[in-house]
Symmetry: C2
Subunit: 192 residues, 2 copies
């Protein structure tokens, strides 16, 4: 067998693998974009819901003295609803966070495969894309963490106030606010 | 905000992620096919080269007594060439084996991402494809291992014969065949 005949299919295999690896980076980039968009979107919705609950809570605390018990109960119902909504949005963004993490891993592996196949440009493009979305997601995460910290601070403030009020007026012990606060830490102690 | 307005973009995100994950499985399958083809192709070329060397060696051993030293040297040169070619093809298939292993990992991860995104059909298709190529590669590997085993057996047989001949004819010590055999184990002791 002449040398030319054997080296030609070998070259062609290399070319086909290189092209296929570049195509994988294209598709992983689409997945990375979609999951990033979904994660940022859902994280933003969640942050909004945290602020909604925070503002309802501040309003409730400031009006506590001026409301009768049926008014308190009505505001309390609205707060429960806001809290359920916040939890629902939290679950949603955690789900998208998992998809996003998988897309990042896939993209990293595709970048490596492209690099090994000689598709350097495709490899570098994916790596830059990964860096970009990691920064975007980090920024959005920080906004959510800030909202969570504000809500946690407002809730401990409120607990202190309720304890003081309960001392002055023991009949109010077990008010909706104190029972709301009791199961709060579980929701805010998660580590990201 | 009405419920319908919020759930629509969420559904759409899910759909886009599912579609993107399915596209990733398409492209990883192309890469998997290309690397499998290249690996099987190069492994087959390597196996052929092992048989070429084996047959040259058998011929050399059987004609050893009938050849003069210049004839021996000529056959010896051909065997060196065959051995260099075999090593070259071995390096090539090891390179494709690495590409193939990366393509399998990528495909597995893509199958998982597709499954998590709800693209069950795409996920199952990739998993079946992975199984299929693993069987194909395994079969081709076994053919190569068998050739290597035959070559190794023929070489130890030859070493025995050379030792016996050297005892009868000490001037022949360090013949091309014994020096050929010396560095053989290194090439055949690799574990797959």
């Amino acid at each position: 067998i002449p040398v030319g005949q054997r080296s030609e299919p070998a070259l062609s295999n290399e070319y086909l693998i290189k092209r296929a690896a570049a195509l994988v980076t294209d598709s992983t980039q689409t997945l990375l974009s979609q999951t990033t968009y979904a994660l940022i979107d859902s994280l933003t919705e969640y942050t909004k819901a945290v602020y909604t609950l925070l503002s309802l809570q501040k309003k409730y605390t400031s009006l506590l003295d001026k409301m009768n018990s049926s008014e308190q109960s009505a505001v309390w119902q609205v707060m429960i609803g806001a809290r359920v909504q916040m939890k629902k949005l939290q679950e949603e963004y955690l789900k998208y966070e998992a998809s996003w993490a998988r897309a990042v891993s896939l993209s990293e592996m595709a970048a490596e495969a492209a690099y090994q196949a000689g598709a350097d440009h495709a490899s570098v493009t994916v790596k830059n894309h990964i860096q970009l979305v990691q920064i975007q997601v980090q920024e959005t995460r920080e906004l959510a963490l800030r909202a969570e910290a504000l809500l946690a601070a407002s809730q401990s403030e409120e607990i202190m106030k309720t304890i003081t009020e309960d001392k002055n007026n023991p009949a109010d012990a077990g008010s909706p606010v104190s029972s709301l606060s009791e199961d709060v830490p579980e929701a805010y102690l998660r580590e990201d």
